[in-house]
Subunit: 288 residues, 2 copies
C-alpha cells in the first residue's frame, strides 16, 4: 500500500512535477492530481505521466487529500491558500515550494487561520535552467537540500509527513526558522543577484557602454552570469524578501564603505586582510 493517499499539486512544472514523478517512481502515492492556470500545461503534465489526472474543481479534491503541495510562483500562493482553506480535511497537510518563507507564512496564516498548524512551509533548493512539466525529473531532488521551516503550531506528525515525502524524493532535509531562512537566502542568493544586475546596469546605461563590454573577460563573465536571470522572477523574489534583503544590502554597503576608505587612504594592509579572509573562506567553502 502506498505511503501517501491522494496528493494534490498546484503548479505541475519543474518543482511540483519533479515532486510528483519522484513519489510515483517508488509508488509512494495512491493518486496524484494536478491543478494549474494553463490547460495546455496540465494536459502536457498528464500526457507525460507527471500527474494521474488534471483536477477540475479544487473544492472537490481538497477534503480527502493527504498532501497538498503548492508549487506555483510565490505571488500566486495567497489566492490558492484562500481558495482551498475552507475545504481542508482534518488530516490534510499543505506545503509549498516557495523560495521565500516570511511572506508565504504570512499569506498562509491569513488564509488558514486557526488551522495554520496544517501548513508546513518548505523550500526545495533545486533550480534548473528549464521550467514546465517537460523539465520535471524523478531524480531532480536526489542529494539536493530541502529546507523545512516549521511553525510553532505544526505538530510533529505534520512535520514528519512533509519531511518524509521529501526524503522519499531523495532530498537532504534541513530545518530553519522562517526568519533565518529568509536572512540566509537574502545573503547567499538574493543579494548576489541584485549586485550582479547592478554592475551590468551601471555599465549598460553609459554612452560608451560598448567600450567597457569590449574588454570584459572571464572574471566579469563569472560575476555577471546571474545578471542574465529572469527580471520578473527576481523582482518578485526581492520584493517578497524585502526586509531581509534590505538588511543584507545595508550590511554589504558598510563593507563597501570600509573598502572605499581603505582605498582612499592607500591602506594596503586593510585591503589585503579583507581579500585574504575572503579568499580563505571561499576556498574552504568550495573545497579547493
Amino acid at each position: 500500500m502506498p505511503e501517501f493517499g491522494k496528493v494534490v499539486i498546484f503548479g505541475t512544472g519543474l518543482i511540483g512535477g519533479s515532486f510528483a514523478l519522484a513519489l510515483k517512481a517508488v509508488g509512494a502515492a495512491e493518486e496524484i492530481i494536478g491543478f494549474g492556470r494553463t490547460p495546455s500545461t496540465l494536459r502536457a503534465a498528464q500526457q507525460l505521466g507527471v500527474i494521474d489526472r488534471a483536477g477540475i474543481n479544487p473544492t472537490h479534491e481538497i477534503e480527502d487529500a493527504d498532501i497538498i503541495l503548492v508549487a506555483t510562483p510565490v505571488a500566486q500562493m495567497p489566492a490558492i491558500f484562500t481558495r482551498i482553506a475552507p475545504y481542508l480535511g482534518a488530516h490534510t497537510i499543505v506545503s509549498d515550494g516557495g523560495s521565500t518563507k516570511g511572506d508565504v507564512v504570512a499569506a498562509a496564516r491569513a488564509a488558514f487561520g486557526d488551522r495554520i498548524g496544517q501548513f508546513v512551509p518548505a523550500h526545495p533548493i533545486a533550480g534548473a535552467e528549464n521550467s514546465g512539466p517537460a523539465a520535471a525529473r524523478a531524480d531532480l531532488y536526489h542529494g539536493k537540500k530541502v529546507v523545512v521551516t516549521p511553525l510553532p503550531e505544526n505538530s510533529d506528525e505534520a512535520l514528519d509527513h512533509i519531511k518524509r515525502a521529501w526524503s522519499i524524493c531523495g532530498a537532504d532535509i534541513y530545518e530553519l526558522a522562517p526568519e533565518a531562512h529568509d536572512r540566509v537566502f537574502a545573503a547567499v542568493s538574493h543579494l548576489p543577484h541584485l549586485l550582479s544586475f547592478a554592475l551590468v546596469h551601471d555599465l549598460a546605461v553609459r554612452d560608451d557602454a560598448e567600450l567597457f563590454f569590449t574588454f570584459a573577460a572571464s572574471g566579469f563573465r563569472d560575476f555577471t552570469r546571474i545578471a542574465a536571470s529572469h527580471p520578473e522572477m527576481w523582482r518578485d523574489i526581492c520584493l517578497a524578501n524585502r526586509a531581509a534583503l534590505l538588511g543584507e544590502l545595508d550590511s554589504y554597503r558598510q563593507q563597501l564603505d570600509v573598502l572605499r576608505l581603505a582605498l582612499a587612504q592607500n591602506d594596503g594592509e586593510r585591503l589585503e586582510e579583507v581579500f585574504g579572509v575572503a579568499r580563505q573562506a571561499r576556498r574552504q567553502w568550495a573545497g579547493d
Copy 2:
C-alpha cells in the same frame, strides 16, 4: 633574417615567457635574454627554452637591445625602469605587460625623462591559472587582446614596433589612452573583484558564517569565483589603479542607492527595469 634583433625580457613567467616563446616559434628574434629576481626561475626559463640565456648585468645588455619587455609585477617596474634608463640605446623600444597603465606611465616618465617616447605601454589580456616559466606557452596570445596605450611622445615607428611584436604573437591589437584603459579595467575587472571579495568577507566574519555557507549554491559559486584570487596581487592592482577604481566604486554605490530606494519603496517597476536592462546587456555581450 629575424624581424627583431636582441629582445630583453624582465620577468620570464607566464606573460614574458609566452611572449618569448611566441617570437621564437616563428624565428622573429635573433636572441632573447632574460632577467629576473630569482636565479632558479631564470635557470628554469633557460632549460625550458623560453630564453636563450640569462642576463648577468642589465647595464651590458640594454644598449643594443631592440625590444625590452618588462613583464614583472607592476610594483617592481619603477626600479627596473630606473636601472635601465641610463643605458637605453637610440633605437631601443621599451614596453611592459602591466594590468594598470596610469601608474606605470608615471613611473616610466620619472625614469626615462625626455626619452619617454621610447616607452610604449601595453597590457596583454591573458591571465591564466598558472604562473612561472613552466606555464609559458607559445600560443598563449593567439586570439587574445593586447591593449596598447600610446603616449603623445611615441613615434609611429616606436608604436608599430611593439604592435608588430604582439601581432606576431597572434594577438589582436587595440588602442586606448592610458586613462581610458584604467577606467575600463577598473569597471570590468578590478571593481568586480572588490565586490566579490566584499561579499564573501561580509559573510565570513559573522559568528554564524557556517549557516550561510551551508546554503550557498550555484549563483553564489559563480559570483564569488574571483574572490579566490590572490590577495596581494589584487591589493597591488587596486592601489595601482586607485583613482579610477574609486570613481567606479562610487558610481556603483549610487546604483545600489537607487536599488535600495526602489526596494524600500516597494517599487517593483523600477527593480524590473534595472534587472531587465542588465539581463538584455549581459545576454547580448555573451552572445546568448
